[in-house]
Symmetry: C2
Subunit: 340 residues, 2 copies
Amino acid sequence: MAQKVKLSTIAESLGLSTATISLALRDSPLVAVDTREKIKEQARALGYIYNRRAASLRTSRSGIIGVVVHDIMNPFYGEILKAIETELDRSRHTFILSNHYDSVEKQRMFIETLLQLGGDGVIMSPAIGTPVEDMRLTEDNGMPAVLIARSIDGVDMPTYRGDDSYGISLATNHLIGLGHRTIAMIGGTDQTSTGRDRYQGYVNALRKANIEVDPDLRIPGPRTMQGGFEAAVHFLSLPQKPTAAVCWNDLVAIGLMNGIGRAGLVVGQDISVTGYDDLEQASIATPSLTTVSNGQAEVGRLAARALLDRLAGSHEPDGIHLIKPEMRIRQSTGPYRPRA
Amino acid sequence: MAQKVKLSTIAESLGLSTATISLALRDSPLVAVDTREKIKEQARALGYIYNRRAASLRTSRSGIIGVVVHDIMNPFYGEILKAIETELDRSRHTFILSNHYDSVEKQRMFIETLLQLGGDGVIMSPAIGTPVEDMRLTEDNGMPAVLIARSIDGVDMPTYRGDDSYGISLATNHLIGLGHRTIAMIGGTDQTSTGRDRYQGYVNALRKANIEVDPDLRIPGPRTMQGGFEAAVHFLSLPQKPTAAVCWNDLVAIGLMNGIGRAGLVVGQDISVTGYDDLEQASIATPSLTTVSNGQAEVGRLAARALLDRLAGSHEPDGIHLIKPEMRIRQSTGPYRPRA
DNA sequence: CTGAAAGCGCTTACAG
DNA sequence: CTGAAAGCGCTTACAG
């Protein structure tokens, strides 16, 4: 490649100072319009590339925002990320993405890298078991953080997520309303706020309907399609013969439906299944999946906006902002029928 | 936050020079072992954060690698990215991810941002219609690029992708071997190398079996699950009454299978369907999907390694490296049966 | 084994 | 409206 073009290259070629070039390229009104045009023209002609590291070293603003979630391959996070991307693009921020796969270690390394790069802020769905100190790391170093999808006890940062307890109770109530009494809960973990809230919502709904809660009807663990698929065998062999399953999320539900289908039973008739999240896939699954919309786009949009607002100086109130979930009734649930 | 801790802070607190601190923190053997330990200890105690922008301004190496693909929410790219992530993590590189959604504009903006940040290299699956100049932008500015999944005519950069023509012929031959003669091809576009190659592979296989190629049996367009689902109506109403469909990818195939199921036909018996990619979902779909493994993990791993090797000075040969696809036979395909 | 000094390419008061 | 100069926080020859 040719000699590197920098501000001084342009300055010399035009007989101006680097200060003027710098101002002109950033559209400062301090520079006369025609000088500005001439400078921009020349920058283009020379193939000038703005050196952000130098600028950011000087200004201590990098334009970089970090985003770290459990796993971007999970469409639930994918849908949140898409909304974040849209917001950040609009304000010309660059975002750096990482999965932590629920490794506190990996998450901490990401935060450190982001600090080293001078990240302006971070949006995170904290890993299971994230210690409070790790969260402090961000704010102590002047990098504001916004949480999504999960909250951490003892951390009072702005947090955007669905109202899990309420959402899962919608699904459970829907099944109860269809006459089901033996309802299993498939998937999830007690190690996250989300997991605890969803199980609680299920328990609450059953109690309110005077249905005894049988702990053996809970099959914790699965959070993926594969997991739901594998859980089908366990589910179908439960001695209580459940006629319905409230699933942790849509992926688990779709996997479970596939597993149930393999066993020759018809979902929506023999067994009712609900999902959670209302992913794009939910409506085109066969049968189409009854689920709960979890407002992913809303979560992503609001979290990104909150961070940008804070960077712009205004201060969104801290604490948890719950997005209201909504029921989506489709073909995977139907009236109670006793199992053979 | 407290006053920012930098090299000079540590230097002063220990009565040493910044040069020594800098060397010690990077484990230089030039610094005595106990001095080194003392320095590291102090750095930790003070909560020192390495300023990469400053370092990178000085060394003109950033440790950043850019990755840009069509859409990370597509599990095909997700699986490639996972492999890239694994390789880059190992060498302590940070990666910046972006979708271009086949917008040349968005892709160019990403490349420019990456150049501004001093990116060390870029891995890209180029957007449809990427002009050769845009590809030059990377190398002209000393940032090596490696292509994945798609190639561009006239660009001789290292490229890693599956052998699409061969792969789709495997699927087509499998159907022909089962006795099918009226085989549709669903999805894809002629605007990418991948699209042209796959259609060509399908055509070649038919010709070789002396089956006349009927252009009306091609339904171009769909590349998503939703697209495949919607194409089912068109497919089922084709007057030629095809008994099998070669799909662009697994997503289209799964969508199509759902659509066929809704129409009351049984995939694997009434209609045979093949996918492409062998995504995780393929094996747990119902029926499980016969498909072609496209070596995503291999593509990601090799592309990342090629870039890292080049950054380390060695020079992987340019040109296209084709990964051999493999057939995965499952339940979605079965022997020919005339349609009612 | 350790230090003094220059320089990476910007931006920003300040002066004119 | 434009310029001279300092400084952001590192690293790297060079000297000792």
